[in-house]
Symmetry: C2
């Protein structure tokens, strides 16, 4: 008889140098995630810098390791150039770990375009997918909603939106167990004559596609549970995503101002705090962990560029789930 095996752990590679608050907040988030017994974190970045950050947290957790990468891709760099020239960057090295099956997922809050480019080059795209998309599931009270693209492609063709619809449909079916997921096309009106030329074309194509297309949905429908997947171009998706963030902050600011003006409201505000926080969490994808890169052959999670340690921890948890569920594999159609 063999000895009892250590419980199987999910290894996640984390880009220690990506995002506005790297490496401090990234490493802090990685350390927090490694508190989970079932998790192993591989920090990717310049060893001296990462080690110095890790040093802040005392004795090294055996579930955290470092893989050295000497270069860093900055947020403003042109993705294709950066990925080709910086072969020893934390993004390229992290994606290589994934390619070599040394980890089950890769998480980065760095240059989104560079992550996408590196993933396409090293991991390859799914069959039939021209452009990958960033997607996230929003836990609205009316039901979970997958939105994509949230920013991988600022300019989209109608054919890409149809591909996003197919990927979204498979994802919600396989990961959330929904039968025949309802696909909506984000537009400026219900009628098929509404929207940009591209959106009108996508509408026509989706009518013929093998997905359960329910037609156009408007901004006001997003939180209503009328669709399971909403497809849009990456520009609109990204602007919407960040508006949600801003509105959450405005809501909190308004409450604080009301309490400051009338301290008698403090108790009421405290009582309702959990409700506000749940609304804000729903609007803010930093809260529940990054967006999944749909359309590449492995699990890549893009966290918000402004991620703090909590956001990174949440993104790692989402990556763990993706790795354990074999999300990228499930997307084979």
């Amino acid at each position: 008889m063999s000895k009892l095996q250590a419980p199987e752990r999910t290894r996640i590679a984390l880009d220690a140098m990506g995002g506005d608050y790297s490496p401090e907040e990234i490493v802090k988030g990685g350390v927090a995630a490694a508190q989970d017994d079932g998790m192993e974190i591989v920090l990717v970045g310049p060893e001296d810098i990462v080690r110095a950050e890790l040093g802040k947290y005392g004795s090294t957790n055996s579930r955290i390791s470092i893989v050295h990468a000497s270069e860093v891709v900055a947020m403003h760099e042109r993705p294709v150039v950066a990925v080709k020239e910086k072969r020893d960057s934390s993004i390229v090295v992290g994606i290589e770990l994934l390619k070599n099956a040394e980890v089950g997922a890769f998480v980065s809050a760095g240059n989104t375009g560079a992550v996408m480019t590196a993933a396409c080059l090293a991991l390859g795209r799914k069959k039939g997918i021209g452009r990958p998309a960033l997607g996230a599931v929003f836990p609205f009270p009316a039901g979970p909603l997958l939105c994509l693209d949230l920013g991988a492609n600022s300019d989209c063709k109608a054919t890409s939106l149809v591909q996003f619809a197919h990927m979204g449909s498979i994802y919600m079916e396989k990961v959330f167990g929904l039968e025949n997921p309802r696909i909506g096309l984000l537009s400026s009106g219900e009628e098929d004559t509404k929207g940009s030329q591209m959106v009108q074309k996508a509408h026509k194509m989706l009518r013929k596609a093998k997905v359960n297309f329910i037609g156009n949905v408007e901004g006001r429908d997003i939180a209503r549970g009328i669709a399971d997947v909403i497809v849009t171009d990456g520009f609109t998706g990204n602007v919407l995503l960040k508006l949600g963030e801003g509105i959450g902050e405005m809501l909190l600011d308004s409450l604080r101002a009301a309490v400051a003006e009338n301290p008698a409201l403090k108790e009421a505000s405290d009582l309702l705090e959990p409700t506000f926080q749940s609304v804000i969490r729903t609007l803010d994808y930093r809260e529940y962990g990054g967006a999944l890169l749909f359309g590449v052959n492995d699990n890549v999670i893009v966290a918000h560029g402004r991620s703090d340690a909590d956001a990174i921890k949440n993104a790692i948890m989402a990556a763990k789930l993706a790795a354990e569920q074999g999300v990228a594999g499930a997307m084979e159609g």
Copy 2:
């Protein structure tokens, strides 16, 4: 000595047949607005239908009159065709009243494209303006923010965004008294390499334009008071606008659900009600009255297609303000 003159009134033409809840809610909103002594409402639509609606409100107010228009432009009709073929529609007749200076502003919750087309044809565009835009001022706690385009043009060229910036700058200077209004370009990142090809081109052009261009702003910045004017294409603007509506409703639903689950929260929720309502009002432009059509030679207000009587009343009040301030005239540059 002459007799005492009646107080001067502002006459507003109201499209009785426009919007999803016409004619009932439109006429009801018009009747409510006419309670204001300084206001005169001209209802435009089929006389029998409008008179029957007015009949619901008892004795006729002398400040309400009807101008007959036998046709109606439906929401789904192609604007240019509808305006050319339906010369006796409430939209075309209402715009003609404005052109002939019989009213100080025209309000419609009808087919936006048709209102814009009729306005361009009958009133003409401002010098140097290729495409008019819909703009509304959001009363954020951090300061008023003019957003345009909110849906007049689903496809925009970079040159149009520059024109929107010029119009927005003049408006905020002349109507809100701001010196050198700060103009932001809505994009998916701060860097000038972010955004669609069109947005990147607009960024370059705005750098050279004679406006106080502060660069790209993201969705999260909208409520923050970092800009006085935000320009975007009509597709993105419209989606954003309607998302605000949806989020307001989600917030209220979440509060109701929390109170239903725990009745002890009822009192707290009631106490904070004014705060929630003010946040929701800020997000929902129906609350403060329609969008102004920027770039045409008179005051045209486009109300939300789903306007109820309150929204119509608010839109009329906004129209009154525009007429009294001579907003369209002030925009001469």
